[in-house]
């Protein structure tokens, strides 16, 4: 038994050198062996834990729980007789039913197409590799996007945007000046202030 777990552990780590030979057997064994399957699962969880890759919310096997719930569901013993049980209609109705099923299938297909389209659009908004080239100075200020709850008059919006840009520009400048101020030595503090320093940094800093 422990040898089996040892082999499994090696496989999870990618250490199994004779993967083709033993690995295939092992995978078949995992499929048939509940114990091994459970171990396979927990080794991966441990591995993620060690690598600090665990998601914020752990989603353990939902399927098993649903199965359990279904099993404990009371069975319907005596279904009520309805029109389907009439001898004549019994053979006709399935066509209607089939139509219904097809309609459902079609709507699923439509939903899937829409879903896929939306999914693709989301893909295009991915932060990397998809940024449209910005005209003008590369690394310059790019527009700020807001998630606003209610609409604002155009003027206010411009004003808001201007203020936010001012904040961002100031933030960049403060970050640059920070290292200067943190490095101030007693000798440099004693120097008289020769000129007021107010650099106009129009673009954000790299």
């Amino acid at each position: 038994m422990s040898q089996k777990f040892e082999n499994l552990s090696a496989l999870v780590d990618g250490e199994n050198s004779q993967f083709d030979l033993q690995g295939n057997e092992l995978i078949t064994a995992i499929k048939n062996d509940k114990d091994l399957e459970q171990k396979w699962h927990s080794y991966h969880v441990i591995r993620y834990g060690l690598r600090k890759e665990l998601p914020q919310q752990m989603q353990f096997d939902i399927a098993a729980k649903v199965m359990l719930a279904l099993e404990s569901e009371p069975a319907i013993l005596a279904p009520k007789r309805n029109w389907r049980d009439l001898p004549v209609l019994g053979s006709v109705i399935p066509f209607v039913k089939q139509g219904g099923q097809m309609a459902i299938a079609a709507s699923v297909a439509v939903a899937m197409i829409i879903g896929v389209q939306q999914f693709n659009q989301n893909e295009a908004d991915q932060p990397f590799n998809s940024a449209a080239p910005i005209l003008g100075i590369p690394g310059g200020l790019s527009p700020v996007s807001f998630e606003q709850t209610n609409t604002m008059p155009q003027n206010d919006m411009m004003e808001q945007r201007r203020r936010i840009n001012a904040f961002i520009a100031d933030h960049q400048q403060q970050m640059r000046l920070k290292s200067v101020e943190l490095n101030i030595t007693p000798s440099s503090v004693e120097q008289p202030a020769k000129n007021d320093f107010q650099p106009e940094i129009l673009n954000d800093t790299p």
């Binding site: 990618g14 690598r51 080239p133 690394g139 807001f146 936010i164």
Partner: protein, 349 residues
């Protein structure tokens, strides 16, 4: 008992796995004999490295810091940020015969933006602004300087996890994950060059592990001699150091009741915004890795503003109306943390 033993063996295996992965890759591309040779050299290299105490993340980071400060190197890298075109940079560093550090950072696209540092003098050459110099020992670039030069300062607020080895920029790299201890800030994934300890790749990721910002090194060169570029710099021609106006000691009017672990107030003052000329109460927070700016304005001058949350590149921008005051926060932190900080602001009576 058995499970804890298992835990240990798995842990040990992780340390060796990536190396074996590299070996397997080598086996695939080489002939049998070559592979044998490679294996030998690889093992020797490993031996040399394990003599160097770099089997912990901390040791790797001190190796990195030492490399960044003491080597002559030339690194080409690309910065990727959401919503902005990729920005390629050339970064050179050298030590002259008197032991003075020289550094150059050059944005390669567009009209150019160049920063040169000689010792403690940093000169900025940028379009639209007359060149100027600041007295500082670091360049304010696209990378977190404090992490590169003084990583030990971050050990209290961030956890450094040695993850494994992989191949980055054509070199074998050690991956290190950086996670804030209180999960209140974005994380980093670092890949360090196994040989020199220099950075090969850096990903800033949000709390779900999605990338926010990426620095990818394309080429790295470590040389015996300083790059000839540094010999061409005409020291007297560099702009004079701007002398900062002495900081007026204003009594802080605001108090923050919540700060993420390791973050402290680096500066608190009243100044005018460069673009609009508005007067703001200002607080700068830093934890060594990220800087956060907080601006406070009376409601009247912040007319037409309302609560909003936005994103500029990887900065979170959050504005909140708090009584008679409009408060805005700018910084690379999750919105949840930004909100918690803003809500904790209190007027000192």
């Amino acid at each position: 008992m058995i499970s804890s033993l298992k835990f240990l063996t798995i842990h040990l295996k992780f340390i060796t796995v990536p190396r074996i992965g590299v070996l397997l890759a080598l086996l695939c591309i080489s002939t049998e004999s070559l592979a044998q040779e490679n294996q030998d050299t690889e093992l020797q290299a490993d031996f040399a490295i394990s003599q160097y105490p770099s089997d912990t993340a901390e040791a790797w980071l001190s190796k990195m810091a030492k490399a960044f400060k003491s080597l002559n190197y030339s690194i080409s890298f690309v910065v990727l940020k959401p919503g902005v075109d990729s920005q390629p940079y050339l970064w050179r560093h050298a030590i002259d015969e008197n032991g003075i550090e020289m550094e150059q950072l050059n944005l390669l696209n567009g009209p150019g933006r160049e920063v040169v540092r000689i010792g403690n003098k940093v000169s900025y050459f940028e379009p639209n602004v007359p060149p100027y110099s600041l007295q500082s020992s670091t360049i304010n670039g696209p990378f977190p300087s404090e992490l590169f030069y003084q990583p030990e300062k971050l050990f209290d607020s961030y956890e450094f996890v040695l993850v494994g080895r992989s191949r980055v920029s054509g070199r074998s790299a050690q991956q290190i994950r950086v996670i804030s201890n209180d999960k209140s800030r974005f994380g980093l994934n670092l890949w360090l060059d196994q040989e020199s300890g220099l950075l090969l790749k850096m990903n800033m990721v949000n709390l779900e592990g999605q990338p926010l910002e990426q620095i990818q090194v394309a080429a790295i060169q470590v040389t015996e001699q300083p790059d000839p570029f540094f010999a061409r710099i005409d020291l007297p021609m560099l702009p004079d150091i701007l002398v900062m106006r002495g900081q007026q000691a204003t009594t802080p009017r605001w108090k923050l009741n919540y700060l993420p672990l390791g973050m402290h107030v680096a500066k608190q003052d009243i100044h005018r915004l460069p673009m609009t000329g508005e007067l703001v109460d200002y607080i700068l927070l830093t934890d060594g890795l990220v800087d956060v700016s907080i601006y406070l304005q009376p409601m009247a001058s912040a007319k037409a503003s309302q609560d909003l949350i936005g994103r500029h590149e990887s900065n979170t921008i959050l504005t909140r109306q708090m009584g008679e005051v409009s408060v805005t926060l700018v910084g690379k932190i999750p919105a949840v943390t930004a909100d918690a900080i803003l809500k904790s602001i209190q007027l000192v009576q």
